[in-house]
C-alpha cells in the first residue's frame, strides 16, 4: 500500500489540511503505521502535481485544506478494485531467516523456531488485551484482527516448519541406517 492511496481515501471523506490528515491516518489505522508530517506534505505535493488533489485557499492560520479531484477519485476507485499482489508486500524476514538457518552448520533451528513462537504468542497476548479493552471504531477493529490473524498464521507456519524438520531428520536417520546396513552406497539424500 502507498501513503498516496491512504491520503486519497481520507480526503474522499472531506477536505483536510496536512496535520489533520496525519492525525486521521493514525486514528484509522490504530497507529500501526505512524506517518510524520513531512511524509504527508511530500505526498500531498506529488498528488497535487499529478492532479489528484487540489489545494484550497489559505485560512487565517496559514493552513491549506486539500480536496480530492475527479482524477483522484478515479485513482482511489481503481485502488479499491485491485487486489493487493503478494509481490507488493515486503519480504518476510522470518521465512528468509529460517531458510538460511537450515543451511548454516551449528544453528539449532528448533530453538530458532521456538524463540519466534514464544515471541509471536507474546505479541498475540498484547493484541488480545487491546481487543479485550473494548470495541474501538470499526476501522481499528479490522486492523487489529488483521494483525491477530497474521500472528496466528505465523504460529501455524512455525508448527508446520517444526514438523517438516522432524520428518526430514527421521528420513535422514533412516537413510543413514540403511546405508550403514547395506554394502550399496545410498543414492538419495534429504536436503537440509
Amino acid at each position: 500500500m502507498s501513503i498516496k492511496h491512504g491520503l486519497l481515501a481520507l480526503l474522499e471523506r472531506e477536505p483536510m489540511y496536512g496535520y489533520q490528515l496525519r492525525t486521521e491516518f493514525d486514528t484509522t489505522t490504530g497507529s500501526t503505521w505512524p506517518l510524520n508530517v513531512g511524509q504527508v506534505y511530500t505526498t500531498l505535493a506529488r498528488l497535487e502535481r499529478d492532479g489528484l488533489v487540489t489545494p484550497g485557499e489559505e485560512d487565517d492560520e496559514g493552513r491549506v485544506r486539500y480536496a480530492i479531484t475527479a482524477a483522484g477519485r478515479d485513482e482511489l476507485t481503481g485502488w479499491f478494485a485491485t487486489p493487493v499482489a503478494s509481490s507488493d508486500r515486503p519480504r518476510d524476514e522470518l521465512a528468509i531467516k529460517l531458510a538460511l538457518a537450515v543451511t548454516v552448520p551449528g544453528v539449532d533451528v528448533g530453538a530458532v523456531i521456538q524463540r519466534q513462537r514464544a515471541a509471536t504468542i507474546t505479541a498475540m497476548q498484547d493484541l488480545t488485551r487491546l481487543k479485550k479493552a473494548g470495541p474501538g471504531d470499526l476501522s481499528w477493529t479490522l486492523v487489529l484482527e488483521s494483525m491477530r490473524y497474521q500472528l496466528e498464521a505465523e504460529v501455524r507456519w512455525l508448527d508446520h516448519c517444526e514438523a517438516t524438520l522432524a520428518r526430514a531428520a527421521r528420513e535422514r536417520t533412516q537413510i543413514t541406517d540403511g546405508a550403514a546396513a547395506s554394502s550399496e552406497p545410498a543414492t538419495t539424500g534429504v536436503r537440509r
Binding site: W33, A118, A123, M124, Q125, L127, S146, Y149
Partner: protein, 245 residues
C-alpha cells in the same frame, strides 16, 4: 495467603510398563493462581490431555503431587476425590458434553444436586450462572434447540456453578466458528477476571492470546513459556505490523 488453584509438582505419568512404557508426563511443574488463565500448547502426543486429566483427578500421576486449592489429590480417598472434582473442578470439552434430555438450567444444576444441594437452591444457582454467561431467559431450553456457541456457554456455566473455581478446558472452541469461538474465550477470560482459574489446552494462537501465560509442552515437559512484558500500547506504536518484520 490464598493457596494456588492448581499446583502440579514434579509430576510424571507413565502408561504401560517395560519396553512398552509411554512417558506421557515427565517431571512436569505448573502452578495456576486464582484469577489466572494459563494456556497449554504443544504438538499431538506432547501430554496436553494427560496434563488436564491429572489436574482434574480423572487420571492419577505415577509420581509427583497434584494439589487443587491446597488439597493433595493423591492423599484423598476415592469418595473425597470425587467430592473435590464435583465441588472445585469444572470441565469444558470440545463437544460440550451436555445431557440432551435436561434443560439448560438442569444441566448446570446437576453437579450441585449430585453434591446434595436441594433442587430449588441448585436451580437458583444454575440460573445465576447462566445469567453470568449471557443466557438469561434460556433456562428452560434443551441443548438441541440451542446453537453450538450457546451450548458451550451452558458448559461454562456448569463449570463455574457453585464454589467451582478451577476450569479445565480442552479445545473448547474446536467445533465453533471463529467469531463464536472468540466469544467463548472472552467469556472464559471474564470468569478468570472474576476470580476463577483456568487451564486451557488449545492449538490456536488466537485463543492462547487470551491467557495470562502460555506454556509449551514437548514430550511431557514444559519447555518454554510466553508471557507479556511490554504494554500493548508500546507494542502497537513501536513494533506494529509495519515495524515487526
Amino acid at each position: 495467603m490464598t493457596a494456588p488453584a492448581l499446583e502440579i509438582i514434579d509430576v510424571s505419568r507413565i502408561h504401560g510398563r517395560g519396553d512398552a512404557a509411554v512417558h506421557a508426563l515427565r517431571g512436569l511443574h505448573l502452578t495456576v493462581a486464582p484469577g489466572e488463565m494459563v494456556a497449554v500448547m504443544g504438538p499431538s502426543g506432547s501430554g496436553k490431555s494427560t496434563l488436564l486429566n491429572v489436574a482434574g483427578g480423572l487420571d492419577q500421576a505415577t509420581a509427583g503431587r497434584v494439589r487443587v486449592h491446597g488439597q493433595e489429590l493423591g492423599s484423598l480417598s476415592k469418595g473425597e476425590l470425587a467430592q473435590v472434582r464435583r465441588r472445585m473442578v469444572g470441565y469444558v470439552f470440545q463437544d460440550y458434553n451436555l445431557i440432551p434430555s435436561l434443560t439448560a438450567a438442569e444441566n448446570v444444576a446437576l453437579p450441585l444436586e449430585l453434591d446434595k444441594v436441594r433442587t430449588k437452591e441448585a436451580v437458583r444457582q444454575a440460573r445465576t450462572a447462566l445469567d453470568e454467561v449471557g443466557l438469561d431467559g434460556l433456562y428452560d431450553r434443551f441443548p438441541d434447540d440451542l446453537s453450538g456457541g450457546q451450548q458451550q456457554r451452558i458448559a461454562i456455566a456448569r463449570a463455574v456453578v457453585g464454589e467451582r473455581s478451577l476450569i479445565l478446558a480442552d479445545e473448547p472452541t474446536g467445533a465453533l466458528d471463529s467469531e463464536t469461538g472468540e466469544q467463548v474465550l472472552a467469556l472464559l477470560r471474564a470468569r478468570c477476571d472474576a476470580g476463577a482459574a483456568a487451564l486451557l489446552v488449545t492449538h490456536e494462537a488466537r485463543h492462547a492470546g487470551w491467557a495470562d501465560r502460555v506454556v509449551f509442552l514437548r514430550d511431557g515437559a514444559v519447555v518454554d513459556e510466553a508471557g507479556s512484558a511490554v504494554t500493548p500500547e508500546a507494542f502497537v506504536s513501536g513494533n506494529g505490523m509495519a515495524g515487526a518484520r
